[in-house]
């Protein structure tokens, strides 16, 4: 699962990079900070990026999750501080989604 998510986010970053002058580094993807002091996105581009990730997840796993929810934003450790944390958040959301669907 984790590997598929890393690959999926890598693809989205590649798509975003096509239109960026200042490319987002892809070699240490998990350590890339998305938003904040060292973040690669401003708030608007962050939303666009997360929307692309949501779509990719929907296409690949056929699950709809929100990465821009109040829950995502209000976490003590922000899922947007590093790609690895975003992946953790996605996994949690997908698990929760699976449980709700099963129940």
């Amino acid at each position: 699962m984790r590997e598929r998510l890393v690959g999926l986010i890598g693809n989205v970053v590649a798509e975003v990079n096509e239109r960026r002058d200042e490319k987002i580094p892809t070699e240490n993807l998990l350590d890339v900070s998305l938003y904040g002091d060292a973040g690669v996105f401003d708030s608007m581009h962050l939303v666009n990026f997360l929307t692309l990730v949501e779509e990719a997840i929907e296409d690949e796993f056929d699950v709809e999750i929100s990465l821009t929810s109040e829950k995502a934003v209000s976490r003590r450790v922000s899922p947007f501080s590093r790609v690895s944390r975003l992946i953790e958040f996605i996994e949690e959301e997908m698990n929760e989604n699976a449980e709700t669907t099963a129940a």
């Binding site: 608007m44 779509e55 929810s69 209000s74």
Partner: protein, 479 residues
């Protein structure tokens, strides 16, 4: 009460209308399902229906629900209720929500249904919501406070339900005497040739009522559609040589997309008036190319103020002027405000917070005004998308995207998120096969350089059909 009775004996404009129709004799008034009914027939039907209503206990100033779409019978019944000074609540679709609103706010006494040709009339009692106002009590005894000014003026009323995209529909009360006097005219504008006008807009909508009264103003002929599909409407235009088609931009686009303007001869059309929602400039350009002989006129109006007479700058321009001596306008913080003689009397179920303290109606439409007084609708205030403080108007993007040969139609709306408040989304109906990734790329490339970066949609969805309301408006507000 005696005062009211006195007035009933006085000569009445209401009777003048039926009188005028009677004098027009064989002139065609209504074409309904291929059958032509003359003005003489209509005058007769109005009078006999008014008699039948009275016989069945429908007293003046009682609220009556008229459950019907446009038909010869429903038109005659509407005017009979006007003759009888009732408060008419026309309802095309008798949905649970509409019924609840009517019961809760309109104090209805009777439900009337009528055969399309007017031959049969069914009058059923309706339980009034007000416990003190049960059906069968003395007429006028429990007239709701809101109807009091109508009773005092000896006037008929009209209640229109707004299509409310959120919450319960608003019940909007009009003075029907005023509407008829302003919009149906005196009938002195009679040409030898009758003008056929298509009743595309709905019977329970201000646009539909306005179209109907507009027919009477020119002693024209109302052609009634059985179904409001592009195919049926275009076939009717060809069959009856329709000269005026009042409709909406969304419906006009459906005609173009389906190529119905090529399958039918629409050359009789002298004027297409479009309203109810803003017109994307690109669509207007396409329309003018497809139907060069028809003048394209932007109408402007609201359920609350009635439809204003307008002049478009040209058939290719979405700028228009309000050229109606009964209507004054002003622009406050970008929003158009109106004051008209056909202004509504109030909402029966909502506070009048859409009125300013000095009695102007806030339309909720954002407009810009040129130096020469021409106006342009930029969108609805409540449809503005706020992306982290930056404002995006859906119409601007839709208008540009319609210029793409790969896009048949689209609708832009805001999607809430907890980071920037909202983000821009677009549902695209492509003209051919396309994947979501291709659509996203195309939308971005098509808009880049034409709009500021914050307006670029974050999300692009492919859809087979756009969400269109029963009144042929695009739906941008999502639940």
């Amino acid at each position: 009460m005696s005062d009211e009775l006195d007035r009933r004996d006085a000569p009445d404009r209401r009777d003048e209308l039926a009188e005028r129709f009677a004098r027009l004799g064989d002139r065609p008034a209504v074409i309904d399902k291929g059958r032509t009914h003359s003005y003489g027939d209509l005058a007769h039907a109005i009078r006999t229906t008014a008699d039948r209503l009275r016989e069945r206990g429908v007293a003046p100033h009682e609220a009556v629900v008229l459950n019907a779409d446009f038909s010869f019978g429903s038109i005659a019944t509407l005017l009979a209720l006007y003759l009888n000074r009732n408060v008419v609540v026309p309802l095309v679709a008798f949905t649970e929500g509409a019924l609840r609103t009517v019961n809760d706010s309109c104090a209805p006494r009777h439900l009337v249904k009528v055969a399309d040709d007017g031959s049969e009339l069914v009058v059923e009692p309706m339980a009034a919501a007000d416990p003190g106002a049960q059906a069968g009590t003395e007429p006028g005894a429990a007239t709701p406070e809101a109807y009091r000014p109508l009773v005092e003026a000896g006037a008929a009323g009209l209640v229109l339900l707004s299509s409310g995209s959120t919450g319960a529909p608003k019940a909007i009360l009009h003075n029907l005497d005023t509407l008829v006097a302003e919009k149906a005219g005196s009938g002195d504008r009679v040409g030898s040739r009758t003008t056929n006008i298509l009743m595309f807009l709905l019977f329970d909508h201000i646009g539909g009522i306005n179209s109907l009264l507009g027919v009477f103003k020119v002693n024209g002929t109302a052609v009634l559609p059985a179904r409001r599909t592009p195919e049926e409407i275009c076939a009717l235009i060809e069959e009856h040589g329709i000269r005026l088609l009042p409709t909406s931009p969304t419906f006009l686009n459906l005609i173009l997309i389906g190529d119905y303007h090529r399958k039918h001869d629409l050359s009789s059309l002298r004027m297409i008036s479009y309203g109810t929602e803003p017109m994307p400039e690109e669509l207007l350009r396409r329309l003018h190319t497809a139907l060069p002989r028809a003048r394209l006129l932007q109408t402007f109006g609201t359920s609350e103020t009635g439809i204003s007479a307008t002049t478009s700058e040209s058939s290719e321009s979405t700028y228009f002027r309000i050229s109606d001596e009964n209507v004054r306008y002003r622009i406050v913080d970008g929003e158009l405000q109106l004051k008209s003689r056909t202004q509504f009397m109030g909402y029966l179920n909502y506070p009048d917070d859409s009125l300013t303290e000095d009695g102007w109606f806030r339309t909720g439409d954002l407009v810009e005004e040129k130096e020469d007084g021409f106006l342009k609708v930029k969108g609805r205030a409540k449809e503005v998308i706020n992306v982290g403080g930056e404002k995006v108007l859906p119409l601007e993007l839709e208008s540009i995207l319609l210029g793409s040969p790969l896009i048949d139609d689209c609708v832009v709306y805001g999607r809430p998120n907890s980071i920037t408040g909202q983000s821009v989304c677009v549902d695209v109906k492509p003209s051919g096969p396309m994947t979501r990734a291709e659509a996203r790329r195309h939308v971005r490339e098509f808009l880049e350089g034409k709009v500021e970066p914050f307006k670029l949609p974050a999300k692009v969805n492919l859809v087979e059909e756009l969400r269109v309301s029963e009144r042929f408006k695009k739906q941008r507000i999502r639940a």
